[in-house]
Symmetry: C2
Subunit: 184 residues, 2 copies
């Protein structure tokens, strides 16, 4: 940030009084820019025991397979965002069953959150964001063609829980050099 979004004046990078972090501060109108982590929310969409994946039609990771997910928007809940992204990326209507994974990725200021979800019908299709949408047997997940490390981690945990017959809530962290950025 170089200019104040409220008044257009050039900002200073400084630690505001009572704070302990450097922020962009406007010397004209006292606006302070708080830049905080963003939440990516998505689903592990299941239909009759099969897993829905989307082949990315956009960068980054064009052509790789992913779980439907994207930036949570204002005025929605985490699960509403997950279902919106599932519809936008795969054309499918799903229902969230439970929160499954929450992965902090601090070097890109993101949290990735995935829900176990069930499709109401086997009704899905390619979209602007997905060149292909398909159901996979759990034994046929294309591990070498997954788009993001948070997806690989989430599906690895999901398969472990599936084998154990019970699904928990999992928290994890992905550090630098072990992640791809899901740009907006």
């Amino acid at each position: 940030m170089r200019y104040c979004p409220q008044c257009g004046h050039a900002v200073n990078m400084t630690t505001p009084p009572g704070d302990n972090r450097v922020r962009a501060v406007c010397p004209s109108c006292d606006f302070i820019d708080y830049d905080n982590p963003r939440v990516i929310t998505g689903t592990i969409p299941l239909y009759k025991g099969k897993l829905l994946l989307c082949r990315r039609n956009i960068e980054p990771r064009l052509g790789f397979w992913t779980l439907p997910a994207g930036f949570m928007e204002n005025q929605e809940t985490t699960s509403e965002g997950a279902l919106r992204e599932t519809l936008e990326e795969s054309g499918s209507v799903a229902i969230c069953k439970q929160a499954f994974s929450m992965i902090s990725i601090p070097h890109i200021n993101q949290i990735h959150l995935f829900y176990i979800a069930e499709l109401e019908r086997d009704d899905f299709h390619a979209t602007e964001e997905s060149s292909e949408v398909a159901l996979f047997d759990l034994k046929d997940i294309p591990w070498d063609e997954l788009a993001f490390s948070s997806v690989t981690k989430t599906l690895t945990l999901f398969i472990e829980d599936h084998k154990n017959g019970t699904y928990g809530f999992h928290e994890d962290t992905i550090h630098l050099n072990n992640a791809y950025d899901l740009n907006q």
Copy 2:
């Protein structure tokens, strides 16, 4: 947002190509402002079965009791943020045991996340943000003097789980007229 934070030009409120939401867009440098929900992260701090609460020394809800919590910052994980806030607000060093509650509050674009945590020592004190910090027996929680509905909801769930002897992960939503805004 009225001015572009990148170039200082006045922005337009419009739906960018390929998007379906109105955003602030700069006609000069094509900057798009994505304003997303923020995460408040905090703890349910326990010491020998007692609960640590902080009496707020700042607005909003000055004088009311709260769990230590605050806005997650860039470059940290959700649990690191929870422990940082616990230290800042109560002077205590804690360890996160498990994620306990995740509460979406869509009308204020926030997610409140609380961890069950344990204090390493009974070492805590008033801080700039807390006029008083104290341990409470679980039967003596000051329910009528709690600062925020997400705190009341989280502690209600915690007491239920405590009675059952097992602690789960709980997701919930707080809607308009049922919440107080935790301003930054």
